[in-house]
C-alpha cells in the first residue's frame, strides 16, 4: 500500500447542513455503494440517528477513486458526531485525519458548532476545504456565505467548492480537490505501533471492535496489542478496511484506517482516544489528547415496575457495550426503590439512553431530575462530590458548595442579541465578549453555570432567536455559588427523587413553579394530595389536589360485563405506569416536571 495515495478526511457540518446526503453522494460516485444498496443517509445507521437527524456515533468508510492521473486513490471518510454533547469524540475523529471538508448550508451560513469544530481542526493543523452545499435551493445566498467563509478562513472565494449534495452537482470536483489539497498521511511503518482509536462498535459475535487510524507502525493478526489508557492486552484476530462490509487484510500500516478484531469483551476497553501499541514493542508514549469519559449530567434511572431492576441492570450493561461514555452505579431511593445513578455527556445523551432502554429493551423507566456534580466543602475540610441532590449534607455542615461552569459560544444574527442577553441573565450567565463575524452575525461568549443550561436552555435559545442562534460549550472550572436543596413533599413526606439543588435567589421561583406543575401532572386520587416545596424545614410553596370525585361506570346493564371490565383494565394499565410513593400515585413525567416548567409561562 502506497501511503501517498491515501487521503484521510472528515466532514464538519451543522445539523441539517447536508453532511449525510453529501456522504451518500461521495459513496455513490466512488461506487463504494451502489444506488441499489443505498439506504438514504448511509452513515447514520441507528434508527434514532436517522429520526433525529443527528449523528450520535462516529462512523468511517473507505472509498476508492480513480483520479485524472489514472492512479487509484484511497479516501477514508471519518464521520463525526454532530452534537455538542459529543465534542470529545469529534476531536478524536479529527485527530485521525489530515483534512476536513467544512460544509456550510448556502441558505443558513456558519453556525456555532461548526465553528468550534473548525477551530479544533485548525488547532490540529488540518487542511480545510470550504464547501457550500445546497446551492440548488432557490433561497441559497451563495455570495453572502462565501463572504462569511473567506473572512473566517482567510481564503479566496475561488477556493470554495460549490456543491449540491442533493443533485450531485460539484461532487466530482470536490473529490478531486480532496486528492489535490489534503496531504497524504505521514507515518513511519518501521516505528513501534501507535494506532488511535476514534470509534468503537460492539458486535454480538466478535465483541468490541475499535476503529483505528494507524499513526506509526503496523498492526496485523497475532500481534499482541496493549491499550495505553486501559493497560489491557489482547491478541489481534483480524484487521481490515471499513468498506460497505468489513474487508479483512493482512495488515494495516501507518497512515491507514481500519478495524481491529481482538476478542475484546467490552467497549469500555476500547475507549475513544486511547492508543493501541504492541505489547512487546511498546511505543515510548501514547498519542496526545486522551481523556477519560467525563459525564456532565447525572440522573437517577429507576424501573417503573420494581421487579424490573435486574432487567434494567442487564439493559444498561448491554448499552454500555457500545456506549463507553455511559456511566452508572446502583443507588436506592426511598420513593423509587432500587435503581441507578447514571452519568451522561449531556441531556441529549440522556434522552438517547432513555429512548434506547424503552425501544431496545422494552423497559419503562423513571428518570429523575437531571443535575450536575457539585463539590461540597465541609467545615472539617473535607471535599465531597455530590451528584444526587438527596445526598447533600445539612446546611450547617457545609462551608461552601462549588458548581461546574461552562464556557459557551453562541452565534446569532445580531437582531437577537437583546433576547439572548436577557436569557443569559436569567440563567446566571456572565457575558465575556462579543465579536462580529460579518455585518449581521455575532459571536457571543458567556460563562454559564452548567446546571442552568441543562433545563431547556437550548430549546429556549432556539425559540428566542427564531431558530437561528447556535450553541457550543465546553467545561471551564468549578466556582463557588449560593446553593441550597429544594425538597418536594407529598402529604408531608419528602420525596427524595424530586429534590433538587438550586441557587438561593431562584429557590422561591422553582419551588412555586414546581408545585404548580406537579399539581397539573399528578392525577386526582382517593385522598387529597398536598404538595409542598421546602428549603430545610421552611415551606415556601404549597398546592393541593382535591380528591377524585368522578371515576365510575355509570351504566352497567344489558349485561355486557366484559366491555366494562376491559375499561377497568385499561385504567389498571395506566396505574401500573405510575409510581406509588406513600399513598400517592405519581406519573413518570412528574419526576421530570422541572424540565417543562417553563412551558406554562
Amino acid at each position: 500500500m502506497d501511503i501517498n495515495k491515501i487521503r484521510n478526511f472528515s466532514i464538519i457540518a451543522h445539523i441539517d447542513h447536508g453532511k449525510s446526503t453529501l456522504a451518500d453522494r461521495l459513496l455513490e460516485i466512488t461506487n463504494t455503494v451502489s444506488k441499489r444498496e443505498m439506504k438514504a443517509q448511509f452513515l447514520d445507521d441507528m434508527d434514532l440517528e436517522r429520526e433525529r437527524g443527528i449523528t450520535i456515533k462516529s462512523h468511517a468508510i473507505r472509498m476508492e477513486y480513480k483520479f485524472s492521473d489514472d492512479e487509484v486513490y484511497i479516501l477514508n471518510l471519518i464521520d463525526t458526531p454532530g452534537h455538542v454533547d459529543f465534542s470529545y469524540e469529534v476531536s478524536r475523529s479529527l485527530a485521525a485525519c489530515e483534512g476536513v471538508l467544512l460544509v456550510v448550508d448556502a441558505t443558513q451560513g456558519v453556525e456555532a458548532q461548526t465553528l468550534s469544530t473548525l477551530y479544533q481542526a485548525m488547532d490540529n493543523n488540518l487542511q480545510i476545504i470550504p464547501v457550500i452545499n445546497k446551492i440548488d435551493l432557490p433561497n441559497a445566498q451563495i455570495v453572502l456565505v462565501m463572504e462569511q467563509l473567506t473572512e473566517l478562513l482567510g481564503c479566496n472565494s475561488n477556493e470554495i467548492v460549490l456543491v449540491s449534495a442533493k443533485t450531485g452537482e460539484g461532487i466530482k470536483e470536490l473529490l478531486e480537490e480532496i486528492i489535490i489539497q489534503i496531504p497524504p498521511p505521514e507515518g513511519k511503518p518501521q516505528e513501534p505501533l501507535q494506532a488511535l482509536i476514534f470509534d468503537s462498535i460492539f458486535d454480538n459475535y466478535r465483541g468490541a471492535i475499535p476503529y483505528i487510524r494507524v499513526i506509526n507502525g503496523v498492526i496485523k493478526p497475532k500481534t499482541r496489542i496493549f491499550m495505553f489508557a486501559n493497560e489491557k492486552t489482547f491478541e489481534v484476530d483480524e484487521v481490515g478496511y471499513l468498506g460497505l462490509k468489513k474487508d479483512p487484510q493482512e495488515e494495516l500500516i501507518a497512515g491507514e484506517v481500519g478495524y481491529v478484531v481482538a476478542n475484546i469483551k467490552n467497549v469500555r476497553e476500547t475507549r475513544v482516544g486511547d492508543t493501541i501499541t504492541e505489547t512487546f514493542n511498546k511505543a515510548s508514549s501514547p498519542l496526545p489528547g486522551y481523556r477519560p469519559a467525563k459525564p456532565m449530567v447525572f440522573s437517577g434511572l429507576y424501573p417503573v415496575n420494581n421487579d424490573e431492576y435486574n432487567l434494567l441492570k442487564d439493559a444498561l450493561d448491554k448499552l454500555k457495550l457500545n456506549d463507553s461514555s455511559l456511566l452508572y452505579e446502583p443507588e436506592s431511593s426511598k420513593a423509587l426503590g432500587f435503581g441507578f445513578r447514571c452519568g451522561f455527556l449531556g441531556l441529549l445523551h440522556m434522552e438517547i439512553i432513555q429512548e434506547r432502554l424503552f425501544r431496545e429493551h422494552k423497559i419503562e423507566i423513571i428518570t429523575t431530575v437531571p443535575n450536575v456534580e457539585y463539590l461540597v466543602y465541609t467545615h472539617d475540610g473535607e471535599r465531597l462530590s455530590i451528584d444526587n441532590p438527596s445526598n447533600l449534607l445539612q446546611e450547617n455542615l457545609i462551608e461552601r458548595i462549588e458548581e461546574p461552569i461552562i464556557s459557551a459560544k453562541i452565534i446569532t444574527p445580531s437582531e437577537f442579541i437583546g433576547n439572548i442577553m436577557k436569557l443569559a441573565a436569567d440563567r446566571r450567565g456572565i457575558h465575556k465578549d462579543m465579536e462580529y463575524m460579518d455585518k449581521s452575525r455575532v459571536n457571543l461568549n458567556f460563562d454559564f453555570p452548567l446546571v442552568e443550561t441543562i433545563f431547556d436552555f437550548y430549546d429556549k435559545l432556539k425559540t428566542i432567536s427564531k431558530g437561528y442562534a447556535s450553541l457550543d460549550y465546553e467545561f471551564l472550572e468549578y466556582r463557588p455559588a449560593e446553593l441550597e436543596k429544594l425538597d418536594i413533599l407529598l402529604n408531608g413526606e419528602a420525596v427524595d427523587a424530586l429534590s433538587m439543588i438550586v441557587h438561593r435567589e431562584k429557590a422561591y421561583y422553582w419551588g412555586k413553579k414546581l408545585v404548580q406543575k406537579l399539581r397539573k401532572i399528578i392525577p386526582r386520587q382517593l385522598y387529597e394530595v398536598i404538595i409542598q416545596a421546602a428549603i430545610g424545614s421552611r415551606v415556601i410553596a404549597r398546592e393541593s389536589i382535591k380528591p377524585l370525585r368522578k371515576n365510575v361506570v355509570a351504566k352497567c346493564y344489558g349485561g355486557d360485563i366484559t366491555r366494562k371490565r376491559k375499561l377497568l383494565e385499561k385504567q389498571k394499565e395506566g396505574k401500573k405506569r405510575m409510581k406509588r410513593v406513600g399513598k400517592v400515585d405519581i406519573p413518570q413525567e412528574a419526576f421530570l416536571a422541572i424540565l417543562t416548567v417553563e412551558d406554562d409561562g
Binding site: K550, N551, K555, Y557, G559, K564, L567, Q571
Partner: protein
C-alpha cells in the same frame, strides 16, 4: 343453574340520540325481518336452553315501544309466561300510546320503564330527544298506576348546560309523581357517539360529583333505596332482571349486540343487524366466541360487580377462594381507601355514595390488594379455564 333471565334487544330507533352508544339502527323497515330472525333464534336456543327457568323478560333497546302489539304477541307466545315473572319494557314517551299500554297489560308486561331523561325542555333539546316535557305529562297521565304499579323512570344528569337548580325541578317532579323505581344516569361522553366530538374535553369541575351526591341524598330523603350506582327504588321494587347482571345469575341475550352469561361463559351477538339476520338465516347462532377470562379477570369482575350494588363484596367467599386473611386485607384497604368512601359489615365491603363516585379507582385498589402476592396465597393461573365459577 335453576334460574334464567332473558334480555331481548330491539335495535330500532326513529333517530339516534347523540349521546347513546347502545346499538340501534334507523331502518324501521327491517323490523319484520328482525322479528322472524328473533323467533328463529329462540327456536335455535330452545334445543339446549330450558325456558321454563325464566325469571324475567326484559325488552330493551333501541326503542322497544316501537314494537306493534302484533309483534309483541308473536314474541310472547314463544315463552311460558308465568305470573311471578318480571316482564319489563323500555319505552319512550313519544312512541307510547293508550293502545300500546293496554296491550302491554294484556300481554303480561308488568313493569314499565319510561325514558323521560329530564322534565326540562332545554335539557331534552341538548340531549337530542324527540319528546318534550308536555308529552311526558301527557303520557304519564295515560298510564294507569294500577296496571303498572312497578314503574321506573329514567333520568340523565350531567347534561351539558344543566345546573343544580335544574336538578331541583327533577326532584320536585319525582316528589309529586312518586315512581317506585328511578334510574339516574350520569352522562358520560362515550366514544363513537356524536357527543364525543362535541364534549370530549373533560371539564375539570366537580359538577358531576356534586350532582350525584345531591341525587343520592335527595332520593334517600324521599325514601328511595340507593341499591346500585345509578338505581334507586322503593322497598321491594329493585329491578330483578338488572340484578342478574350484577350477581352472577345466568342470563341470555337475544337480538343484535345482546350479551349472555351462561354456564360461566360470557358471549354476545354482534353489533350488526345484518350479520345477525344472515347468520341465523343459516340456522346458526350468531354469537361470538366465549370471552377468554382467566382467574385475574374473574377476580376483577367479582369485585367490580360486587361493589356496584348494596349487596356489597363478600370477603368471606373471596378469602376462601383466594386464600387470604380478611384482617390483613382490611388493614390494607383501610390504609389506601379513605373511610368516607366505604364501610364494612358482616364480612362484606359496601361503598357509600361518595365511594360509588370513584368506584373504578376503589375497585382497582381492592383488586390490587387482593392480588398482592404478599397477602394472598393463591397462584393466579394465566390462561383460560372453562370451569371457572
Amino acid at each position: 343453574m335453576e334460574q334464567l333471565y332473558l334480555y331481548i334487544h330491539i335495535p330500532f330507533c326513529k333517530s339516534k340520540c347523540p349521546y347513546c352508544n347502545f346499538y340501534s339502527v334507523e331502518e324501521l323497515s327491517l323490523m319484520d325481518l328482525y322479528l322472524e330472525t328473533l323467533i328463529e333464534e329462540i327456536r335455535l336456543y330452545s334445543e339446549f336452553i330450558d325456558f321454563h327457568k325464566l325469571q324475567s323478560i326484559y325488552l330493551g333497546g333501541g326503542t322497544p315501544s316501537l314494537l306493534l302489539p302484533e309483534h309483541l304477541k308473536e314474541i310472547f307466545t314463544l315463552f311460558p309466561v308465568k305470573d311471578n315473572m318480571e316482564i319489563t319494557i323500555e319505552t319512550n314517551p313519544e312512541s307510547l300510546s293508550y293502545e300500546k299500554l293496554k296491550f302491554y297489560k294484556e300481554a303480561g308486561i308488568n313493569r314499565l320503564s319510561v325514558g323521560i331523561q329530564s322534565i326540562l325542555d332545554k335539557n331534552l333539546i341538548t340531549l337530542g330527544r324527540n319528546h318534550r316535557t308536555e308529552e311526558i305529562y301527557k303520557i304519564l297521565d295515560l298510564i294507569d298506576r294500577r296496571d303498572f304499579s312497578n314503574m321506573s323512570l329514567d333520568f340523565i344528569y350531567n347534561i351539558p348546560g344543566q345546573t343544580m337548580e335544574d336538578l331541583e325541578k327533577e326532584f320536585d317532579f319525582i316528589r309529586t309523581y312518586n315512581p317506585k323505581h328511578i334510574s339516574f344516569y350520569g352522562l358520560l361522553v362515550e366514544e363513537k357517539t356524536a357527543f364525543f366530538n362535541l364534549y370530549k374535553e373533560e371539564k375539570e369541575d366537580d359538577l358531576y360529583g356534586n350532582m350525584y351526591l345531591k341525587i343520592s341524598k335527595e332520593l334517600k330523603e324521599l325514601r328511595y333505596e340507593h341499591y346500585e350506582i345509578s338505581n334507586f327504588c322503593k322497598e321491594g321494587y329493585t329491578c330483578r332482571h338488572n340484578q342478574s347482571y350484577w350477581n352472577f345469575s345466568e342470563y341470555l341475550g337475544l337480538g343484535p349486540s345482546a350479551a349472555s352469561y351462561i354456564n360461566g361463559e360470557r358471549f354476545k351477538n354482534p353489533d350488526s343487524i345484518t350479520d345477525y339476520i344472515n347468520n341465523i338465516k343459516n340456522k346458526k347462532l350468531s354469537i361470538t366466541e366465549p370471552e377468554k377470562r382467566d382467574e385475574r379477570d374473574i377476580l376483577l369482575e367479582r369485585i367490580f360487580l360486587g361493589l356496584r350494588t348494596n349487596s356489597g363484596l363478600n370477603l368471606s367467599e373471596l378469602s376462601v377462594k383466594y386464600n387470604f386473611n380478611i384482617p390483613d386485607v382490611m388493614t390494607k384497604i383501610s390504609e389506601y381507601i379513605p373511610a368516607d368512601l366505604w364501610y364494612f359489615r358482616d364480612n362484606s365491603i359496601f361503598l357509600t355514595a361518595e365511594g360509588f363516585l370513584s368506584s373504578n379507582t376503589i375497585i382497582l385498589e381492592i383488586n390490587n390488594i387482593i392480588s398482592d402476592k404478599n397477602l394472598t396465597d393463591f397462584t393466579f393461573k394465566a390462561g383460560y379455564n372453562r370451569t371457572t365459577i
